[in-house]
Symmetry: C2
Subunit: 384 residues, 2 copies
């Protein structure tokens, strides 16, 4: 034992025990979670190959298929946050040289472009102003122009609050031998979404929005078409941690060690999914819709306008235009500091132009809206 080693104590912080303020999280996520979900993280840790944990993994898989409305066997939770699941979808689907067509109408479309390029794709884009969506005609034309191997769309753009309609898109893709990859980060659990009926081949999400769970374990699913493309690759997936060939040996019947799962996050995810199954998916979607409509009414009372056309507004996240002359960042800061309420500032093209208000999972409740509106009434300059 080398106890004579010279220890440098300059970074030995002596800290008080953790003190975290209680916030009402009405931004783009994370959201507050149901007390049962929060408590679940506190269950005793078991090993990642413990029979009790393996059974829980199976439950998560089945319930993810339920909330996504899919029969996909390859449906798991990735051991990271939503961005990791996004990268997993890209990494497993893309081979160098593949033409990947990305619909860019917000921040996360741009991120898909960046990621796909890193995996060697020949990336093409179609673009719309932030807050608008693509029509089926526009998508058809782009598919015929670019003949991509993969079309990537964002179902629910967290940066704009817009919902991209997906009905019919999968059919267009499959008629042309193309896979459909969809970002459902801000839709899963909160926005009507029928993966198999809409012929989606790859989808990913996060845990901390519509599913009402803390962030840290993120859903990923692949159709048999997508699995077939993966299995026909000539090169290894250039991402070990997210290689579905390896992950499925752990999540599937082999149970081969791959990595140590974030045990407690899976506890929380299992409980969050159980609560949705108990409530019922249609009821859960309806709750999100009803509460967001209540939000829109109350915003109107305050003279505030959502940024997105009503037909395409998300039930989970609303972008609200900042009135002229109002310092949006200051309002958000005061909501946080004086009222313990978090809302999001605009991102990218919408920075400074909108606030982002999320009503997701457990927080999609009338009380959330009432508390926010009371606080906004106090914080907004009286001239508005």
């Amino acid at each position: 034992m080398t106890l004579t080693l010279p220890i440098n104590d300059s970074k030995r912080l002596q800290l008080p025990p953790l003190q975290i303020p209680t916030r009402l999280l009405l931004g783009p996520g994370p959201s507050n979670v149901h007390p049962v979900v929060q408590e679940a993280m506190n269950a005793p840790i078991v090993g990642h190959l413990d029979p009790a944990f393996l059974a829980l993994m199976d439950e998560i898989q089945t319930l993810l298929r339920y909330v996504w409305q899919t029969d996909n066997q390859w449906t798991i939770a990735v051991s990271g946050t939503g961005s990791a699941a996004m990268e997993a979808a890209i990494a497993n689907a893309t081979e160098p040289g593949d033409v990947v067509l990305v619909g860019v109408n917000g921040y996360f479309g741009n991120r898909l472009v960046d990621m796909a390029q890193r995996y060697g794709a020949d990336v093409r884009t179609i673009a719309k102003p932030w807050g608008q969506v693509f029509s089926l005609d526009e998508i058809r034309t782009a598919l015929d122009t670019h003949r991509p191997a993969i079309l990537a769309l964002v179902h629910a753009e967290t940066s704009t609050g817009a919902r991209q309609p997906l009905e019919g898109v999968g059919e267009l893709c499959h008629d042309r031998g193309c896979l459909l990859l969809v970002d459902t980060v801000t839709s899963l659990g909160g926005v009507p979404l029928l993966l198999d009926a809409w012929e989606v081949d790859l989808a990913y999400s996060c845990s901390q929005k519509g599913l009402g769970c803390p962030p840290g374990a993120s859903p990923l699913t692949m159709s048999s078409r997508a699995v077939e493309k993966l299995q026909q690759r000539r090169t290894k997936v250039t991402n070990w941690y997210l290689d579905m060939n390896l992950l499925m040996k752990y999540w599937g019947s082999d149970r081969t060690y791959h990595h140590t799962a974030p045990i407690n996050m899976y506890y929380a995810l299992r409980e969050a999914l159980r609560l949705i199954a108990s409530e019922g998916l249609a009821q859960c979607w309806q709750r999100h819709q009803q509460n967001v409509e209540y939000l829109w009414e109350r915003l109107e009372d305050l003279g505030l306008t959502p940024h997105v056309e009503q037909e395409f507004r998300l039930p989970t996240l609303t972008t609200v235009r900042i009135p002229e002359g109002v310092d949006g960042r200051d309002v958000a800061r005061r909501l946080l500091n004086e009222h313990n309420i978090e809302i999001g500032n605009g991102l990218g093209e919408l920075a400074g132009l909108v606030w982002r208000v999320g009503l997701m999972g457990y927080n999609s409740r009338k009380e959330s809206v009432d508390r926010l509106m009371k606080a906004l009434g106090e914080v907004l300059p009286k001239t508005v």
Copy 2:
């Protein structure tokens, strides 16, 4: 609202609330954690850009520098488990065509080979039987033969229980313009380790072993030499989620959004690190050493032999030879089912030949050894 959507209820499991057995985790990790750390995960969720959370990130960075004994500015926790931090080290350090020399004397050496190949490295290896380590002379010869850009070694091989001495290796590397990358997954917090004194350029670890935290947020550090190599790359890091250029804009002073951190895991990590700073790093190492020596004595009483030569045994993880005629898997299964104690089975070359017994973090206590020995005495066939 499309409430007429046809919901398929075939996967709508109706489950009872989460029930998890209480285990004593004496395998290769995860381990049980201090009650304070467990409780920390239950603190209220805040946003990933909340001032309270940003302050906590700073505390984590400083305390990680303490436990690693480094001044490296680029010291963070990756939002995934240890394997993600491992891949982050490889992805950020390796450019296609780089010669990467890997010391392979266990499972994780092989994994480094696989990962480095995926990032386009020209991988060379030196090998030793599982359980042995490399001498300084062997390393010098290999460096002169292969002239690598990066030498990758495993400080603490979780698959074998062997400790690779590192004193002098960094100097050899730097004399030859090579970076030293070290796997400290099973050493950080439990095994003497002086990153700067030993001139290590890239290191990664996990949270659930020596740090005594649940799995899910994983330390990564880069020296200024490693950062310089990263900043001189001609190509983007082919991994968006783990690209340190992007991550440092979030962990550094810019606070630019990159991904949503697993908030609660960082709470736990902050508390686990706080407890080590409170105990003192030298005291923490000494505790691990004293308890493992007690384990070795008690194993000898039972007629059991560690696999690794005493000088190179880890204080955190001991591989124990399975006596001839004993069904090792059956013993492990009975310990779990009859005594709620988890130990690990052998991995790879040592599968069927050893058990793996971990005494890590909070579980490095005399009581852990006593409970295991009592149970082993009951479970082992009397002929041993």
